[in-house]
Symmetry: D2
Amino acid sequence: MIILIQCDDKVGLVATISNIIAVAGLNIVFMREHVEKAELRFFTRIEADGEFDADILHQLFQSALPNGADIRINPMPDKKIIVFVTKEYHCLGDVLLRNHFKTLGATIQCVIGNYNLLEEVCNRFDIPFHYITHEDNTKDAFEEGIISVVRQYAPDYLVLAKFMRILSPDFVKHFENRIINIHHSFLPAFSGASPYRQAYERGVKLIGATAHFVTNNLDEGPIISQQIIPVTHAYALTDMIRSGREIETAVFARALQLVFEDKVMVYKNKTVVLE
Amino acid sequence: MIILIQCDDKVGLVATISNIIAVAGLNIVFMREHVEKAELRFFTRIEADGEFDADILHQLFQSALPNGADIRINPMPDKKIIVFVTKEYHCLGDVLLRNHFKTLGATIQCVIGNYNLLEEVCNRFDIPFHYITHEDNTKDAFEEGIISVVRQYAPDYLVLAKFMRILSPDFVKHFENRIINIHHSFLPAFSGASPYRQAYERGVKLIGATAHFVTNNLDEGPIISQQIIPVTHAYALTDMIRSGREIETAVFARALQLVFEDKVMVYKNKTVVLE
Amino acid sequence: MIILIQCDDKVGLVATISNIIAVAGLNIVFMREHVEKAELRFFTRIEADGEFDADILHQLFQSALPNGADIRINPMPDKKIIVFVTKEYHCLGDVLLRNHFKTLGATIQCVIGNYNLLEEVCNRFDIPFHYITHEDNTKDAFEEGIISVVRQYAPDYLVLAKFMRILSPDFVKHFENRIINIHHSFLPAFSGASPYRQAYERGVKLIGATAHFVTNNLDEGPIISQQIIPVTHAYALTDMIRSGREIETAVFARALQLVFEDKVMVYKNKTVVLE
Amino acid sequence: MIILIQCDDKVGLVATISNIIAVAGLNIVFMREHVEKAELRFFTRIEADGEFDADILHQLFQSALPNGADIRINPMPDKKIIVFVTKEYHCLGDVLLRNHFKTLGATIQCVIGNYNLLEEVCNRFDIPFHYITHEDNTKDAFEEGIISVVRQYAPDYLVLAKFMRILSPDFVKHFENRIINIHHSFLPAFSGASPYRQAYERGVKLIGATAHFVTNNLDEGPIISQQIIPVTHAYALTDMIRSGREIETAVFARALQLVFEDKVMVYKNKTVVLE
């Protein structure tokens, strides 16, 4: 049983929560908590062995915890996702493989692409591919095309695997903390377009990638995972892009794993990653 | 208040412990726990705000927890250490600086060296230096010299900052889990003498350093911290040694910080680092 | 044009080599050299723009350089490889994807597996899979099965993508410096079987992976690439294995890239990686 | 003998240069070159064994190489530096130690501080400390105080070891590519004031440090070295600052080593690091 709780902090929360779990006859095998002192906000993630009715457990927590506590028990046990792509295959290929070998921690329902270049590889894995072009299309019509596919599948998460279009505020709001993007730089450096060109021109000695939840402030959503690799003066722009792909794939995979294992909680514009 | 507990695992331990803390009117601001499933062993580290009598708290825990529980409350609040050196300055210099600026988390009482090369730098920081040579000396007489200095200071920890002599089993036993060594390789690779030469001859692409508690199995005590840096074919042996010093200094500093902040618990031949 | 030269070191080699290149009207756009001083051995890798007959260039170098110089011009321009697997998909999947999208730098001719679990994914990419079981088979008969497949394809490199069988000395000798293996530890730590179990039991704080050329000393061939990731006490053995797979895939991909771009030279039991 | 050359690129430069070295009877033991293709700019760094008149060698290169070639032979063999500080000890302490043990690759002539907090530690190492306050002082008077000290010592490099004042354009211009600063973030992220606060508020998962040459665009000079360390949600601002100090010290030491070993060349706003 996975239990995620966030609420305002107060004395005795751990005792309150662990007592309820003991009363339910569950055995805590993993527990992490974090208090964001600047916000007086409490976060915990618990794995407990044993059987107990989830609804009753939810009620027990709700009565005992401060008003407005966010309590999640076994959230989305069988996660379903849609992957969004443009032209690059590396992040998509990686999740297709993991999905195929059942190590992704979620099930890919379909892939949506604004180009049709990656339809072929999706076919090889028997994953439906929906080609929705943004060309010869208003922004509204393009997004309506996307919405109609998304509605059909009712996914838990939307996963942007190098999807190079910006989604509308309404769309993003509807999927709050459920759209995960990989940005090809160590944010907040080089937000916006062509981060590798920016990095090349600045002469940096490290390049990075950032996986984050999408909000309506471009490239400014809560960061889930980041990593970097060293580069040198000898890297041409194309070398940076090529090396960058490796780190993008790794960071993206790591962020999806954390999210799909229910280890990421969001508060304001930050994540608390309890692993 | 810092509370460290390790004991056999059983259902309800977190509730038991957090209830006692709540009853004592203390507020948990940090709590980490770990269950080593293979050993059915429970570990926790708690930081709690508030005032309460430490002896009574200890008794409350002792009555409530399984027999043989190891309970430590505010262990060694003002840690005192002796630093052991041979010829190399880098780890010693780093701890002298931190000690001088009061960021070490412990107080250096004195330095013991089996050469007198580093006496001069100790003098600059007004730290007593005891020169005890192993030359023209039996192993027993050498160690008796050390023991008589150590007895005089009664330190909490002995810190081997590139000390190139092996201490006797009796000596080590007396300071169980209280002697910290920096080994100049990524253990268990290249244990024993001349690890950089071994690494050079093997043609590795990474070199590392390992900080560990000293036991009577050479280079096999519980590991506290490890780190590596990349090297290439272009590194001569002397380059590896030079680069290695940087990583030794960093790993040693990191391990001391963890130990001095009471974040390291030992069970059998492993550490549990709760930070 | 790619030019790789290794020979005994002597004064004026760079002038000799660069003069020949200038005489041939070629423009050096990349040049790296290394002198292994302990061995008095010279290595260089040159990329030069322009057209010139490779055979004549080879003769010019041969006349001018010390006897026994190893000179390679545009070695294996269109590399062909066979991938060997056992049960795990992660390294295979990664190279299948890169092969499919033509970013591998080599062409997979077929896959040989001593189990048939990965045949299905090879079929999805239209790559022939040869199932050669070691069960109910003498070691000799097993290897003869492999040899007959290998003979049929005449590959440039054999790539062991988590292949868990040991090849015979004769076989290995025949493919000197042409068999690349990924070992699931930071060699020389934890060579041999079950490295993750060894690492878990030792309580290390880092785990790693090593890509190396296969020789007849098990896990002791020239190292091409190594990398590590941090782990903690909280990692169960299964967590280490899972995290290890990520780093194995990354190190393997990196080593293959270096080899397929002709950036790796071997001398005695070490590699010189000129990039 | 160390030879650094940068000039416009053209065919045959390596042959031209290596011929001159062979004619002079010198043996190349290390050579790196880089062609910045976008700029058609050639860079090389050569270490050669043997004796030859440096002035004549310079003339030989000058006659043979394109106009405007920047040729340096054994640049500043005995480097002298002034260290600038404000209040923080960690970077200063590290260079004081290295200077004391003659592993810095340069000699500290004096330390200039705009606070007098670090005078005491300088005294311990017999390094003159000049306290020049910016308080109760116009910016001009403050800088004149600095200039008069600098003039007295005629240093090769000015090393800003967490110096928190901005130097005037005239001052910076006078020391072009000879002022090295450590910035406490992974530039270009978090340039300007309070980078750790910015990083904390953004919720990044990595923090970094950047060593760069100072130009008149704040925090935008050529980058010499960068590195990062991971952080988590559990890091309070003070934890980030503390961890950041470790990485600042390491990056600063690394950058100084590269510069003092004449491995860094500057062109426009980038460095070419030939090691």
